[in-house]
């Protein structure tokens, strides 16, 4: 299978008043088409920063990457057309209705008006938002809002979907629904999915392959089973122990407040 994402030495240093912060120090990554990649790492490891670079939101200070055949630096517009992104903290205006946000999103992806309206209805059905279409997004529950965030990112049927902690704050039922959705996207549309999570059971169940980053670099990567064997000592080791062995410290508790960026 062809690589749909590849990065070489991708790096980002933030200049802050307190001095430079090396958020990402050089990430080499290859993601195959149709793969579900779990992107793990402790708080502050550089996951969000990496995703923001791969979605053109942030200019890398080093290295290069291609997404769906488009070079990040030379063809950001191509990258944008090919990818969808659900940010860690979402991205909808609380005063606007679900319907208007979905339609506007379609129009931002340059769908004609009638198609944008039709697509909004389709997405609402797919993500169980139909009854909520006329509600303001500020009046949605956390899980409903997360489903909306995901619907927005799927508007243009992207080849690559980046999900930053998509299931944080979801109840077990909604999480299971989301897993099903991710698998369905891959199986039916061949979508490549890169998702970050702090739930190791989720990574274990959902991802074909895991990349564990720590302090801005890739600390380990491989299929969950292979990682357990190498770092956890046996194929029956828990991913938790494997994660601890790789990063040398405990994963953040799943309910800790995410760091806003």
């Amino acid at each position: 299978m062809a690589a749909v994402i590849s990065t070489a030495g991708l790096a980002r240093t933030f200049q802050t008043k307190a001095g430079p912060v090396d958020a990402v120090r050089g990430i080499d990554l290859t993601v195959r088409e149709g793969e579900i990649l779990g992107f793990l790492g402790p708080n502050g490891a550089g996951k969000t920063t990496t995703l923001r670079m791969l979605t053109t939101l942030l200019k890398p200070t080093g290295g290069a990457a291609t997404v769906a055949g488009h070079d990040l630096a030379a063809d950001p517009a191509g990258v944008r057309r090919a990818s969808g992104y659900v940010a860690q903290s979402g991205g909808v205006d609380p005063q606007i209705t679900v319907r208007e946000e979905l339609v506007t999103q379609g129009r931002l992806y340059r769908l004609p008006k009638t198609e944008a309206v039709a697509r909004a209805g389709e997405l609402a059905r797919e993500l169980d938002l139909t009854d909520l279409l006329d509600r303001r997004t500020g009046a949605l529950s956390g899980g409903q809002r997360r489903r909306l965030d995901i619907a927005m990112a799927l508007t243009h049927r992207p080849k690559v979907l980046f999900l930053d902690e998509p299931t944080t704050g979801l109840d077990p039922g909604s999480r299971a629904d989301l897993w099903d959705l991710v698998r369905r996207l891959r199986d039916e549309h061949g979508t490549t999915v890169v998702l970050t999570t702090h739930y190791l059971d989720e990574a274990d169940a959902l991802a074909d392959r895991l990349v564990i980053v720590d302090r801005g670099t890739v600390a380990a990567e491989g299929a969950p089973g292979a990682l357990k064997l190498t770092y956890g000592g046996s194929i029956d080791a828990s991913l938790q122990d494997t994660f601890l062995a790789v990063t040398g410290r405990g994963p953040a508790p799943a309910d800790s407040a995410p760091v806003a960026v």
Partner: protein
């Protein structure tokens, strides 16, 4: 594509303005208070120039409306960054320039609308001015808001918190208002103040609108006013565009 995207963004933010009708009207309150409680003080005073004191005061109030309103426009972009709305739009192929233009055109619409309300109130108070002059005044309000809102959004994109934004804007807005002679013409000022005020671009705008309000459409003031307004708008929109293009990617 630029037109399509600009219209889309314009529509989104105009609907936002229409949703908060109260804020829409509230913006006229300050200049209206000046009109009601400060305007009558001037009617008997020798302000120099031709026409009534209303023809001097109303142009100043119009530009004050635009100045204060547009300078604070960027505040909303800080909130939207916090909500993730800015990044969510920036990952789509939408034109970066449209993200700025749609917003500033919305602002120009809102402030021209408020300017119309203010002029209507002024007519009731006793303002008499030629229609062409009044329309020219609105055009200046539009240019002023386009330029200041562009700068304000650019600043909003750059800073992280409202706490950094407010003081910076206040530092600009108060001196600009006082030094450009928005309340009283600078021709009344001592020489040093008059000279100083020539370094504030809004001075030229208010002089031009005052000329327009007395039917002087071909004066030197008008020429300088147009040059200053157009030049300042071109500069500000360019600066704003640069920030909207480069922030992030």
């Amino acid at each position: 594509m630029l037109l399509h995207d600009t219209a889309l963004i314009y529509g989104r933010y105009l609907r936002q303005s229409l949703r908060s009708r109260f804020a829409l009207l509230f913006g006229v309150l300050t200049p209206l208070l000046y009109l009601l409680f400060f305007g009558p003080l001037l009617t008997g005073l020798p302000l120099g120039g031709q026409g009534s004191s209303w023809q001097v005061l109303v142009p100043g109030l119009l530009l004050q409306l635009g100045l204060f309103g547009a300078l604070f426009a960027g505040f909303t972009v800080i909130l939207e960054k916090g909500q993730g709305v800015v990044e969510r739009m920036r990952v789509t192929p939408v034109s970066r320039l449209a993200l700025l233009l749609g917003r500033v055109l919305r602002d120009a619409t809102v402030f021209v609308f408020q300017a119309v309300l203010l002029v209507l109130a002024a007519l009731v108070m006793g303002l008499r001015a030629p229609l062409a002059g009044v329309l020219i005044g609105f055009a200046f309000v539009a240019l002023l808001t386009l330029s200041l809102a562009s700068l304000s959004y650019a600043l909003g994109m750059k800073v992280r918190t409202p706490q950094e934004f407010g003081p910076l804007i206040n530092m600009v807005s108060m001196p600009s208002m006082l030094l450009s002679g928005l309340m009283l013409p600078m021709t009344l000022a001592p020489a040093w103040l008059d000279v100083l005020s020539h370094f504030v671009p809004f001075r030229y705008l208010v002089d031009a609108v005052r000329d327009a309000y007395v039917g002087e459409y071909t004066s030197a003031h008008m020429l300088y006013g147009v040059l200053a307004a157009v030049g300042f708008t071109a500069l500000s929109v360019t600066a704003g565009t640069r920030v909207f293009r480069t922030t992030g990617a």
